[in-house]
């Protein structure tokens, strides 16, 4: 094994260990209630999900849709006509760092920044 290979393996190990640590940190549940929904980089909704249960539809400019469900202070995409359905599988939004994304529709649901509330 040459020196170059060893350095590469070391780099990969560092990357993997830090990734595992980050995954664990990111898994924490958020207490924030303010949620931002953005499409194409523009924030289209800012909702307080603790207020009421709701179901609504977001149509993307190219005629496709995502159904958003808010229930008991949680939010998720309950239905979508994107090809991969990853956004639906993501389930309820829980972590501050990990958003729900629907890449084909360029839709992102995430908790609003704490700083942005003021």
């Amino acid at each position: 094994m040459t020196k170059g290979v060893k350095i590469c393996i070391l780099l990969i190990c560092i990357l993997l260990v830090s990734s595992v640590i980050l995954v664990i940190i990111f898994n924490g549940k958020s207490e924030n209630n303010l949620v931002e929904i953005s499409q194409d980089g523009k924030i289209i909704y800012t909702i307080d999900i603790s207020e009421k249960n709701d179901k609504f539809r977001i149509d993307s400019p190219d005629g496709r849709y995502n159904l958003i469900e808010i229930k008991d202070g949680k939010i998720r995409i309950s239905e979508a006509d994107c090809p991969d359905k990853t956004c639906v599988k993501t389930g309820w939004l829980r972590s501050e760092e990990i958003p729900i994304v629907c890449l084909p529709h360029r839709l992102v649901i995430k908790f609003a920044d704490e700083r942005g509330k003021k």
């Binding site: 094994m1 040459t2 170059g4 290979v5 590469c8 393996i9 780099l11 990969i12 990357l15 993997l16 830090s18 990734s19 595992v20 980050l22 995954v23 990111f26 953005s38 194409d40 980089g41 523009k42 994107c82 090809p83 991969d84 359905k85 990853t86 956004c87 599988k89 993501t90 389930g91 972590s95 760092e97 990990i98 958003p99 994304v101 890449l103 084909p104 360029r106 839709l107 992102v108 995430k110």
Partner: protein, 176 residues
């Protein structure tokens, strides 16, 4: 380009495309966007170690662009393009210091770079940096997928019949 080499490259592109199409039919098992096995990248890794820089780029570019015809959504081609180009830019210099026996190391780095390229594209497309929250997940899945593709490429490189290999290892690459 010699006809022989052209045929070889075309065959490999076709093989990569078939793997790409087969993989499209497999459902995404995880809830994390962008996690894929990347079967077609077995061919990419193989090509990096076997062909010249120009030939590799040509082959991967052809595969990505032709793959767009099979993709359910056209924007996917932008992600693959960004990912595969960044991956090649990392792997081609690395093959100088990583021998074939450790090809999976090179392939892991390539896969991680591939996912990085796709994440940056996703951030640009959605216009938010929130997607980077998935980066640790994608690094881990990329490393696993890269390990797999790298090992596959290693065994292909080692087991391919002699006739298929470059007859003389010192023969200069035509396009470098």
């Amino acid at each position: 380009m010699k006809t022989e080499r052209l045929v070889e490259l075309s065959l490999l592109t076709a093989a990569a495309l078939i793997m790409f199409v087969i993989e499209l039919r497999l459902p995404n098992l995880t809830a994390i966007p962008g996690v894929k096995l990347g079967l077609a990248n077995i061919v990419t890794v193989y090509a990096v170690y076997r062909f010249s820089v120009k030939e590799t780029f040509l082959m991967v570019l052809t595969r990505v662009l032709l793959g767009a015809f099979f993709s359910p959504n056209f924007s996917a081609v932008i992600y693959s393009l960004a990912g595969s180009m960044l991956c090649l830019c990392g792997m081609i210099p690395l093959k100088k210091i990583i021998p074939i026996d450790y090809i999976f190391v090179c392939s892991i780095i390539g896969a991680v770079l591939h996912n990085t390229g796709q994440l940056v594209t996703a951030a640009l497309m959605t216009g938010t940096t929130a997607v980077f929250g998935y980066s640790p997940h994608l690094m881990i899945s990329g490393a696993a997928a890269g390990m797999f593709t790298g090992l596959c490429a290693k065994y292909i490189l080692k087991r391919l019949p002699k006739k298929f290999k470059r007859r003389n290892e010192n023969e200069p690459d035509e396009f470098t």
